[in-house]
Symmetry: C2
Subunit: 427 residues, 2 copies
């Protein structure tokens, strides 16, 4: 199969108009996607994207175009997508712009996920199943092992995957009947009023969620009040995570989280810079028993490796489109399994819920083999723009059945929200 | 003073045609600059750039354009350039694309350095002097202290700068008479023949350099032979640094460096991923007494902070244009001084020698107060394209005297090497 074209779209949704997605660092996001369709000479196509919050989305579309010479006109071997991932990651001139981080890495994510979407469509299966049905050796070969072998060697990873085969059939039955646990971020955006927070928190519990999340980090008194209101609304048995979106320095993080501890926060998410491995370790030591979580802005597998080596996090929050897509996330899931740290993916954005569910379901079936203390973030925005939107019932993601990675945006939405010329932006 | 325009240029030099700049990770770089001129309503202008190795340079020029709404039409207070740096770094939507790393951060470097070039021109002094003549409080206020206070607080930094005032006049006299020590990378590009390596190594010593550098990491037997030849060429008293350009995993780095140890390498540079703080610490413990150096690809001050906290490096190799320019490098110099680690800047690129000399000279006069074990990289490429090229005599950079940051590329070079339409690329 040969790639004949990349169709690239700059798609932006004007979410800042209602303060959906507002937090202490990001007061006015316009949820956006740098979106790509891989077209092949067989007629098969794959869809992928990376997620931004508005300005600069054009840098990610330009970066996807910058990879085109490595993709268009070349063969795409769906049985060796590890090679495809490494081809993008190892181009020396583009690598200089990271390496393996920021705009070029996000663009690689869009392309690599699109290649898996394509592979799923060609195989006629959803990507969670495509991955789970691979042999341990095939799975291990998807990853780029450079820089990982001090923490995990490929042969160890094969052993880990072989051990995880036990109980696979029962887990698949559970997944297909009940789904994968979710938690709700919808109630807690920082721009919402107390009444809206309280109402949405109650509704989340009524909808079957056993965990919600609140944004914090703007003002301590506000956070204490909001945390108290949320706790009163949901009662003692519902987990409430809090999320500071990188707002604090180390000492400030510890003090702030301690002030919220009377209301029993389940985890503190992104307390400080996503680059600060040692800072997270210090915060973790300082806020116990509150757990420390991060990952949506962790640049790549090398940083995650150290977060695990340094025992800096209790929860690993990979993002489907920040690191280099499925191939790098396979490595991250294997590292997390080796260190026994649960993965609870980030999905606050457009399309992130759709794509990342495939990774968690693969993790459950074939890698960690568990949903204990594992939940996928759920926000109820913008799903109507996808051809295969997530289905959440009783606080669980139902396993998608359509072939591919659920990454396709409807043609009419691509047109309506095309930036800057779509109707949604011309008005 | 108000900014009225940004002129942005994509400039690329076809260096891959002669293998200048070739190393184990970057076999065929075309040294390039995403170049910006800040134009103001007073007629004063400032020049800055970030450095890439070819493909993707257009992403950095696009990122400079993406910052334009934060710059053009706004006041630029030359007495508060810390505010300018923080304005670029804190834009929430563009920050999402890093945060503070990769393409958007390199673009910020170009703009921030251009603002300092402008400030130097307006003040009629080179930037090394502009910075050195600031008060400790003014210097400290240039930095963005977010995420640093667990390692260094602003008040401590002020004390450190006050203590460094002692002996300033003598150091300035030394700087003006002798210059700042340099080392030569020119002999050691991986694509050069043994004869060329030997000849250029001897020439470097004859030219007064007391340190040279060899690229390694392609093939161990080749490296041992090249290291032996270089050692024979320069004798026992010249320092030979080796540079692996991120080629290895941790264990491989330790084994490889040990194999070179009989030829007394001074430092091993970039042994592994620039994100791998714990990996560098492990390598440092494993290769003693060989020193560990890194920095040209370290994304930002938060990663440098941890390199110092973890005692992962012996030498800190900041880059003038990878982190957010002068303002972030002031923070990095202060951190290095606090931890007592010498700074030996990266300058292998186009224009990096010109710009970074100002930072080392500032460090010598006002921060660390020392040139002991400190050298600026020197490569003899492409200086002819600058209006104020570096002057290196007897292995020392002579202090530039022209106002600004020596960042201006000649108009005829901008035209000749403009990509893709300049004459150099049309042929």
């Amino acid at each position: 199969m040969k790639v004949i074209a990349l169709d690239v779209h700059d798609v932006r949704f004007p979410t800042s108009r209602r303060l959906d997605g507002s937090d202490a660092m990001n007061p006015d996001p316009d949820y956006s996607a740098a979106y790509v369709v891989i077209r092949t000479d067989t007629g098969a196509e794959g869809h992928g994207f990376c997620f931004t919050i508005g300005r600069g989305n054009e840098l990610c579309t330009a970066a996807i175009e910058a990879y085109a010479p490595l993709v268009v006109g070349h063969d795409l071997d769906l049985a060796d997508l590890g090679e495809f991932g490494r081809r993008l990651g190892h181009d020396s001139q583009l690598r200089w712009l990271g390496p393996e981080k920021g705009v070029v890495h996000m663009a690689a994510a869009a392309l690599i996920n699109a290649a898996f979407d394509l592979a799923g469509r060609v195989a006629g299966v959803p990507v969670w199943r495509l991955l789970s049905d691979m042999t341990p050796e095939e799975i291990v070969d998807l990853a780029d092992w450079r820089y990982l072998t001090d923490a995990l060697r490929p042969a160890e990873a094969v052993d880990l995957l072989k051990a995880a085969r036990s109980g696979r059939a029962e887990r698949e039955a559970t997944l297909l009947s009940t789904g994968y646990p979710a938690y709700a971020t919808t109630p807690g955006w920082l721009g919402y009023t107390d009444d809206k927070l309280t109402r949405l928190s109650r509704e989340a519990v009524e909808d079957g969620f056993t965990q919600i999340k609140l944004k914090v980090g703007g003002d301590l008194d506000d956070d204490i009040r909001r945390m108290r209101l949320a706790r009163e609304a949901v009662g003692p048995d519902i987990r409430i995570a809090v999320d500071a979106n990188q707002r604090w320095d180390v000492a400030q993080a510890i003090d702030w989280v301690r002030a919220l501890t009377p209301y029993d926060p389940w985890w503190i998410e992104e307390p400080t810079s996503p680059d600060d491995i040692l800072g997270h370790a210090a915060i973790r030591a300082g806020v116990r028993p509150v757990r420390v979580a991060t990952g949506e802005h962790v640049a790549n597998r090398v940083v995650f490796k150290q977060m695990l080596q340094a025992e800096a996090i209790d929860i690993l929050q990979l993002d489907a489109c920040r690191v280099a897509g499925v191939t790098e996330n396979v490595a991250i899931l294997l590292l997390a399994a080796k260190y026994g740290v649960p993965v609870c993916p980030h999905a606050g954005g457009v399309g992130l819920c759709e794509v990342v569910q495939h990774l968690s379901m693969f993790d459950y079936l074939a890698v960690s083999g568990s949903t204990e203390d594992r939940v996928i973030e759920y926000v109820d925005h913008l799903h109507e723009h996808f051809t295969d939107p997530v289905r959440v019932r009783e606080g669980h993601y139902l396993a998608p059945s359509a072939p591919g990675m659920s990454a396709e945006i409807k043609a009419e939405s691509l047109a309506e929200y095309s930036y800057p010329d779509g109707p949604a932006w011309r008005s």
